[in-house]
Structure formats: C-alpha cells, structure tokens
C-alpha cells in the first residue's frame, strides 16, 4: 500500500488545477458528542462565521468511526471528510480519538491507492471550549478542499451526508435540533 506521505508529496508535485471560484465543496464532518459537536454549538453562540459547506454527523466518540464510514462518504461523492475528536489524552472513552486518527491515516493510504488526494480526509482535535478552533478548522479544511477541486469520485444525485449516516446505522446520534421526539423522551424521564 502506498505511503500517505509519499502520495501527498506526489500530489503536491502534480501540476495545480486552476481553482474554480464557484466550486462549493461538500464536506462531511464526523464530530464527537463530547467535544467538537459542543465546540460547534459554542461557535454558533459566539456568532463565529464558518463555511456552510460542512455537514456534521454526531458520534458518541470518534473511536466509533470505522474505515468504511469514511470510505462510504467518499464513495457517495464527498469532496472532503474529517473527523473532529477530543484533545489527545482527553477522550471521554480514553483512546477513541487515537483510534480515529489511525483509521483516518489508513484511509489516506487507501485513497492514495485509488489515485485520490489523501488530504481529502483529515483528523482534528479540539475541546468543547474551542468554538473558535472549530470555526478555524472548518474554514481551513474548506479552503484546502476548494484548492484541491471537486473529488474525482464526485457523484451527482447522491447525498454523502445521508449515505454516511446510513453507513453508521444506529451509531450516529440524533441531532437535537432535528429530533424533537428524542428531546420529549428525555423530558419524560425527567418527570
């Protein structure tokens, strides 16, 4: 299997494609419930601006993320995919974020084998208090994907977000804003 670094170097040497100013990438973010998802909330409360290209999927921990989940998002045509987990050493489940990093690295290798830029997948770490970091990462990654251009695996008429959610099965947590039913159940318990 090709080393991600070697493939990245090769991709860097390749002639740069002209950047299409109208290209709006579709980016899937696998966010940990304990940190990045809360950081996104905070970014919102802080009224920070970040690109609307990212679509979030909430996970109980990035350690739940498997190679196939990242691949399915790419297969469904996502231009970029990243996982955002807790700071290293601060995972709620101890080492979930370290496993996620290894899996992201493995997927970089698989993409290199397929002739797709390994930079289209990435792993980031942040705490729930890092609203600014969340916005910064979203902006930086979106710029990176805009510079790379559309994914060679891009497909029309397929939703990478829906596909990735489906691949995760029951693992993806419901988004509070989108699932009032779940909130009602919790209120029921409180009573």
């Amino acid at each position: 299997m090709a080393e991600p670094e070697a493939a990245a170097a090769e991709a860097a040497e390749a002639p740069k494609k002209p950047v299409d100013p109208d290209f709006e990438p579709e980016i899937i973010v696998f966010a940990c419930h304990y940190c990045a998802y809360a950081a996104a909330d905070l970014a919102g409360s802080m009224r920070l601006q970040y690109p609307s290209n990212i679509r979030m999927i909430k996970l109980p921990c990035t350690g739940k993320l498997e190679v196939i989940h990242l691949l399915r998002a790419i297969e469904a045509g996502a231009d970029g995919v990243y996982a955002a987990g807790c700071m290293e050493g601060e995972c709620h489940y101890l080492t979930g974020n370290l496993w996620a990093r290894k899996r992201v690295d493995h997927v970089k290798g698989l993409l290199a084998e397929l002739g797709i830029e390994p930079e289209r997948v990435e792993m980031y770490n942040m705490s729930s208090a890092m609203g600014a970091k969340f916005a910064e990462v979203a902006t930086e990654f979106t710029q990176r994907i805009k510079a790379l251009g559309p994914s060679p695996a891009r497909r029309e008429g397929v939703s990478p977000h829906a596909t990735a959610r489906e691949a995760l099965g029951g693992v993806a947590l419901p988004d509070e804003a989108e699932s009032p039913a779940a909130a009602t159940v919790e209120e029921g318990h409180a009573e």
């Binding site: 299997m1 498997e66 190679v67 196939i68 691949l71 399915r72 790419i74 297969e75 698989l110 084998e113 397929l114 002739g115 797709i116 060679p152 695996a153 497909r155």
Partner: protein, 227 residues
C-alpha cells in the same frame, strides 16, 4: 491461525479486468481474525472498487458478502446464489478457501484478493508471528516447545550454526528487525526445564517425506467417515 495480507489494489484491479458484476467474498474465520479478509474488509474493498470504477466512468456492480468458512462446502452453499450471479468473485479467504470456492463453483472465475502468508500467532494485538509450517512431523517435544523448522532461519535440526550471537540470529527480518536464535531459545528453555541433556542426545533424522515437497498431502479419519 492462517494469516494473509491483502494484495496491492493495482494487482486486484488487473485480476478483475473489465468484468461488470463483481462479488467480494470475505471469510469470517482465520482471515477475519487477522483483520485482512473478513466481512468488514470485504466491504472496504468493495467500496474501493466502486470508487475506482466511478472515477473511470465504468458501470460496475460490486457486492460484498462473507462465508462463515470458505474452506467448507456447507458454508459455501450459503453464499452460492451470490457467487453464481457474479461475473467474477474476488475471494479474500486464505488459499484453501479460494480454492474451495473455485472448485465448488467451477468454472466460475474466482480470483485471490489476498496473499496467504503463514501459520502464525498473534503476539500482541495486530502483530502476528510465524509459528508452524505444517511440516508433518512435529519435533518440538525434543526442543522445549520451540520449533526450529520455522524459527531457525536455516531450519537446522541439530543445534545452532556459527551465526548465533548473544541469542540473536545473523539474519535480520524483512524490516531489519532482529530475529532471536531459535537454538539459543531452545537451550534456555531446556535448561529451565532441567532437560539440557536433550541437546546432546541422539535423535533420529526428521522424516521430510511428510512435508510439502512430496506432493499434495491427504488426511483420512476412517473412524469419522459417514457409514
């Protein structure tokens, strides 16, 4: 267990050629345990093949499945429908499973997606070490439970060679890692067992006719055959 490693993607692509209906068939026994060819890995390879075909604008239909064991007829029956519907099957089982599949569904095209490499044990999670070559005549009762056939670089049967230094072999492994001298290990183990005299005892020559160089081997258990 039997261990295997996935073939490079480019090689797999060549084996598949221009076939349209591809079935990636994993095996949920040994190759699943060594994280190479179980259902999970079959799904990953299937996804990769679809991405590749999509990039090249080719229409393909790639499915994945897994047999509980590809090396047994009964378990192959369970995936027969999918196998027969495919133009080509990419088997992720060990060499035994791949051949069982090719034989049962002949003349169906069955291609290997992995290289079967050894009979190994997991020394730690995700690290496997070779421990047996199925030589057909086990002599580890004389060597403290350490196999010199597989663990000595020269498969020496009567003690170490001159390349043994400080417990290490003069040969280094594929990643330049040190290899322990099997005969140094055997000596230490026999000493710990108080059986050093075994090193100096006469032992009959090993019967290599029971190994793999005498043609394919066969085992029959008469008492277990159906009446």
């Amino acid at each position: 267990m039997i261990t295997a490693e996935r073939k490079p993607f480019d090689e797999i692509i060549k084996l598949v050629g221009d076939k349209k209906k591809i079935l990636v068939a994993g095996c949920d026994t040994c190759v699943a345990i060594c994280l190479t060819g179980g259902e999970k890995e079959a799904e990953i390879l299937a996804s990769e093949l679809r991405i590749k075909a999509g990039q090249e604008g080719r229409e393909v239909e790639v499915e994945h499945t897994a047999a509980i064991r590809q090396c047994e007829w009964e378990y192959l029956d369970m995936i027969a429908e999918k196998v027969e519907a495919a133009d080509v099957v990419l088997s992720m089982a060990c060499g035994i499973g791949i051949q069982s599949m090719a034989e049962k569904f002949a003349p169906q095209l069955v291609m290997p997606a992995v290289n079967t490499n050894m009979l190994g044990m997991p020394q730690e999670h995700a690290v496997w070490l070779e421990r047996c070559v199925a030589c057909g005549e086990c002599r580890i009762g004389l060597t403290g439970g350490i196999c010199p056939v597989v663990r000595c670089s020269k498969s020496l049967m009567n003690g170490p060679c001159g390349g043994s230094h400080d417990g290490l072999c003069e040969v280094t492994g594929p990643d330049k890692e040190e290899i322990e001298c099997a005969w140094a290990l055997i000596w230490e183990r026999l000493k710990a067992q108080g059986r050093e005299e075994l090193m100096f005892a006469d032992r009959p020559p090993k019967d290599w006719s029971k190994s793999s160089s005498g043609g394919p081997r066969k085992m029959v258990r008469e008492e277990a055959k159906p009446v």
